[in-house]
Amino acid sequence: MARLISDPDARGELFSAYLDGQLTTDEVVVVSDLLDGDEELIREFRSLQEVRRSLRLLPEFEVPANLLPDGHLGDRLSAYLDGELVTLEHRRVTRHLVDCPDCRVELQELDRARIAVRSLPGVDTTSTGEIPVTPAARHTRRYVAAGIGAAAVAAALVVGLAVGNGDEPAFSLDDLGTRHVARASAEPGFAVFPASVEVSFP
């Protein structure tokens, strides 16, 4: 690792790999050590950031798909949709999706297919191979009990409508906060943290 510190080219590669999100955590620690207090290396790192920004501003030319190598995501789309990718891979896939309409369409089709499968009625494949069914409602006619029950429900409903303040939500404020924080963290400069993780009041 000492060679990396002394060799400007290798150091540049290390910084570049960090900015591409390609380093292991141990290598990130090396980068942080390099940047801690060494003004020359800090300038080198910041100038690399500027160069990368400039490159992103260059005009983009659309290359016909048939001239490109097969760089599409394939099976990784499924893993992406399952939330199984580690951070670096997740970031690469997301970046690819931003630029690749074909993969976006494929992802949406995949998601639709998964929703359709999930919406199928549950099938219990037990050893008997029988598909369990919900027992049909019994048709015992108990008019008196039903009448009393209906009257009670109606009375409760009327009271509820008159004095109630809506149903208790089946979720928590933390849940809403989590969803917002997760989404907001895709934006640059996000500074919203979940309320539940603060350490303590000093």
């Binding site: 207090g37 989590t178 989404r183």
Partner: protein, 307 residues
């Protein structure tokens, strides 16, 4: 609006030096790459209500780990894993980040120091007044202090690194063995595409067959959660405060980095979660369904037949 923006820019050039919104974007991108760890004090002060917290924070590669022990969370790139809970959430985005709204201009202020380290002040102005003042560590581009002001120029939110080192804990990568619940964007949000200068970016399914619509103006952001019917919001929070906005009554829950506003419109229960300042919040609420109730017969009809 353009004239006001132009005048503000001239004032900025005279008083503090030239700067553009692009430079703010550059700074925010650099901050995303910053490597640092330490402790951040964050507080929100609104109508005399204070909410203050201290967060342990580790940051590198666009990810921030905050908290400690069971309250540990790792956040970034549209994903969040919260330690101690079974559920992990993730959103993904198929768009490029929205640009800073034209109502903002940016000014570089004087050089300063924070915790003995060289830093610079960046002011984001709105209509000639400072909306956010950021102190940026020169070496790392980390935001070491911020102040957010409301429309009257009063301090609304502040944050300050109280410990700061250029290092990270290798344990920060441990969250990677978790699976995330993916949130696919929906095709429509059933809400306006713009609210008081905030643009609707995308929408997702939310609890109870509801929706989450995400808005940002490039500086602040919020999510509006909607679900059909009415919710007894008071039942799920015990630290809410009444809030009068534009003559209507809401509930608000104030946390160090965000504010949640809860209310019921006649046919919809709504919750807004975000970091926007109070005057922006008032403008946004004015354009969303207002608090109210239907008459008794309509409520009974909806309860019985669902529409």
């Amino acid at each position: 609006m353009l004239v006001v923006g132009g005048l503000a820019a001239i004032v900025v050039v005279t008083a503090a030096g030239t700067a553009t919104a692009d430079e703010l974007t550059d700074y925010l991108e650099d901050a995303r790459d910053a490597i640092y760890s330490g402790q951040r004090l964050v507080g929100t002060s609104w109508d005399g209500i204070q909410s203050i917290g201290i967060f342990d924070i580790q940051h590198h590669g666009g990810m921030a780990s905050v908290g400690s022990g069971s309250g540990f969370a790792t956040i970034g790139d549209g994903r969040m894993h919260q330690g101690g809970l079974d559920e992990a959430a993730v959103s993904f985005v198929l768009h490029t980040g929205p640009e800073l709204d034209a109502r903002y201009t940016v000014a570089h202020g004087e050089a300063t120091k924070h915790l003995g380290r060289a830093a610079s002040v960046i002011d984001v102005l709105e209509a000639g007044s400072v909306r956010i003042r950021m102190v940026v560590d020169d070496s790392t581009a980390a935001p070491v202090a911020t102040e957010v002001f409301d429309g009257d120029g009063e301090l609304f939110r502040y944050s300050s690194m109280t410990k700061f080192t250029v290092s990270v804990d290798p344990a920060m990568a441990e969250f990677d063995d978790r699976e995330y619940r993916m949130m696919m964007p929906l095709e429509d949000a059933d809400l306006p595409i713009e609210l008081a200068g905030y643009r609707l970016v995308d929408a997702y399914a939310a609890p109870q067959d509801g929706r989450q619509a995400f808005y940002t103006d490039g500086l602040f952001s919020f999510s509006v959660f909607t679900t059909r019917g009415r919710a007894n919001w008071g039942a799920i929070t015990n630290n809410d405060h009444p809030y009068d906005s534009n003559g209507y009554n809401y509930l608000r829950v104030i946390s160090p980095t965000s504010v949640t506003v809860l209310w019921n419109a006649p046919t919809t229960a709504l919750a807004l979660v975000g970091d926007l300042p109070p005057d922006h919040l008032d403008q946004v609420l004015r354009e969303l369904p207002l608090p109210g109730t239907d008459n008794w017969m309509k409520r009974m009809w909806r309860k019985l037949f669902g529409y």
